[in-house]
């Protein structure tokens, strides 16, 4: 009976979204429902996480159809961790968007769509069925399309066209991969697939299918040659939307890659090497892209791409230690990236521009806020003992052990460029003398906002910074969590047992 709580994060978001749709005209109510609901979903995520932690992997078969035939929902430690992180950043962004999103956007259903997005994310993390994963992906992308276009500014529509095209293309490739996989095995349940794919003699065809999955998820995760839609679109919507996109949407792609390549397509050296090369190139090209930009939001977009490289790199090495590093980095990165885009929004509120050249003097005006911002900046770079450091340490030591010295070069290069870019933002936006504020229509600067709004903008940043600090200073606990996740991922028998084993006995 306890296992039914696997559904709770999904159902709560669905009910939230529907009740928000019913209060379409009452924006005030929408704000309250969204905020209270996101706190509630955080409580539920914590409950699911602690239950999964103490009782091991939880499995529910939808409609009580036995495992390989029906749709399974599985909450192993990995999925539960990601649901928890989704709830944390979802809550922060919910408060932040109540503080920053224009009333015109809220009137056209920003908040319901936002909760539909969270619904899709929770579903994607918890499902144990590959076609169901496709459906959750579609829920995620259709809500993200609405979020990215809502407001209808010229840049938004242009960015949306690119975002839209490549995401649908990725979905078609994903669907093609599912079709081929179904043709090969006659199954869609991921645990069952793991057993059946291992038995297939025609390894060439399996490899082709794996490459199709790599391309489909690679576009969503913004891997090296497939990332061009990201910097063309992520800076166009309001910062609250960019925050949830930057924090979670690319990470769903990473999650799917990790899930598929640790469960179904296991131990393929050729594929591992491809992933390693892609990861290295992602690190290089993302870092170089970040160097060339002047728009803060675009710099952050390139940093997303760059840091995806770290996670994919560990997946390519495919040792337990490397996966531990990946999971640690994923935990750190979701919080850090969400926070980063919200900070971008705060900077825009204060200076009225995203351009580094045209802004300045933030430190002189708001020393406390500047000090707050420096913490996530440093943890992004990986200054010890902040959160980014521990994951990078694991990844570097693992590359050293496996003899991939060029990977260490790539990691250090990307870290150095991140440091450089952050230092440049600091020098330009914070330390430079202040410039005259541009006059904008329908825009209120931070200093003229009411105190309640100020709290709604700064509060979520403080909250995520505290979480970031906890990840850094409580690294021992996070490391223990990451080790357990890596252990479960490397030994895919545990997952298969949890999904198929229970049902064959009763």
């Amino acid at each position: 009976m306890m296992a039914q709580i696997v559904f709770l994060p999904i159902i709560v978001q669905l009910l939230l979204a529907i009740s928000l749709l019913f209060s379409w005209k009452w924006i005030k109510w929408q704000k309250i429902i969204s905020n209270v609901g996101s706190v509630l979903s955080l409580v539920i995520a914590i409950w699911l996480f602690s239950t999964t932690w103490t009782e091991g992997t939880l499995t529910v078969q939808a409609g009580n159809w036995q495992a390989p035939f029906g749709i399974s929902f599985v909450s192993d430690t990995f999925a539960a961790t990601l649901v928890l992180l989704t709830a944390i950043s979802g809550m922060a962004v919910s408060f932040f968007s109540v503080g920053t999103i224009m009333p015109a956007r809220l009137k056209f259903g920003f908040l319901p769509i936002f909760h539909f997005l969270l619904l899709g994310l929770n579903g994607a993390f918890l499902t144990g069925d590959i076609f169901n994963l496709y459906v959750w992906f579609e829920i995620i992308i259709i809500s993200s399309f609405v979020l990215i276009t809502l407001g209808g500014e010229k840049t938004q529509i242009e960015g949306a066209i690119k975002y839209f095209t490549l995401n649908i293309f990725a979905s078609v490739i994903f669907l093609t991969a599912i079709a081929v996989l179904y043709g090969l095995t006659g199954s869609l349940n991921m645990a069952d697939l793991a057993l059946k794919v291992a038995e297939i003699q025609n390894r060439g065809l399996v490899e082709v299918t794996a490459i199709l999955f790599l391309i489909g998820f690679g576009i969503k995760a913004a891997l090296f040659p497939l990332y061009f839609w990201l910097p063309a679109s992520y800076h166009t919507p309001p910062p609250a939307v960019s925050a949830i996109f930057g924090g979670l949407l690319t990470k769903v792609g990473v999650y799917a890659l990790i899930r598929v390549f640790t469960l179904i397509f296991v131990g393929d050296v050729f594929l591992g090497n491809i992933i390693l090369v892609l990861a290295g190139l992602t690190l290089f090209s993302g870092a170089l892209g970040a160097l060339t930009q002047n728009n803060i939001s675009k710099v952050f977009s390139y940093l997303i791409i760059c840091h995806i490289g770290y996670m994919i790199l560990g997946l390519g090495m495919y040792t337990e230690m490397a996966i531990t590093g990946v999971v640690f980095y994923l935990i750190h990165d979701i919080i850090a990236k969400t926070n980063l885009f919200m900070i971008g929004g705060l900077i825009y509120r204060i200076t009225g521009t995203y351009s580094m050249r045209d802004s300045g003097g933030l430190y002189a005006k708001y020393p406390l806020i500047s000090l707050l911002i420096i913490i996530p900046f440093f943890s992004l770079v990986g200054v010890p003992p902040l959160s980014g450091f521990w994951a990078k340490l694991t990844l570097i030591s693992e590359s050293f052990k496996s003899g991939n010295y060029w990977l260490i070069a790539a990691i250090l290069f990307a870290t150095f460029i991140t440091l450089f870019v952050i230092a440049r933002i600091w020098a330009e936006v914070f330390w430079k003398e202040s410039k005259p504020l541009p006059k904008l229509q329908n825009f209120r600067y931070f200093e003229k906002l009411k105190l309640e709004k100020k709290i709604l903008i700064v509060g979520p940043i403080v909250f995520l910074t505290l979480i970031s600090l906890y990840i850094g200073f409580g690294a021992e606990y996070i490391q223990r969590l990451a080790t357990r996740v890596a252990n479960e991922l490397m030994d895919n028998q545990q997952y298969i047992q949890a999904v198929l084993g229970v049902n064959t006995t009763n």
């Binding site: 529509i157 179904y182 043709g183």
Partner: protein, 115 residues
């Protein structure tokens, strides 16, 4: 039949990709539609085509007595069609909006967010 379908699917994928690479927005949508249809047919083909044998258990027995058509691919295609229908209607509205706001349907002119 399988061969014919395989050739058709190949054509749909090729035409879809070609249309996506054109510069016109409308052709982009047509390309996406063709690709989606190709993927749906691929699921149908790879689920093995069985003619005239519905998956219905005869009244006098409790298991399937002969070969039967796999119902799962059909369910998958149905889901995929509904999803792609929604996405396509969104795409058409988005393209119309883009044409109104950016005042061009040439994808090469839409490069202000790339820089």
């Amino acid at each position: 039949m399988e061969l014919l379908l395989a050739i058709l699917i190949g054509l749909l994928y090729a035409a879809g990709l070609y249309m996506m690479l054109r510069r016109s927005l409308v052709k982009l949508i047509i390309g996406l539609i063709l690709l989606g249809n190709g993927a749906n047919l691929l699921i149908f083909l790879l689920g093995r085509i069985t003619k005239g044998l519905p998956p219905i258990i005869p009244e006098e027995s409790s298991v399937f007595t002969s070969a039967y058509a796999d119902p799962v691919p059909q369910a998958l295609i149905l889901t995929a069609i509904v999803i792609s229908f929604g996405l396509q209607s969104f795409a058409i509205i988005l393209v119309k909006r883009a044409y109104k706001v950016v005042k061009t349907d040439d994808l090469d002119q839409m490069n202000s967010t790339d820089r």
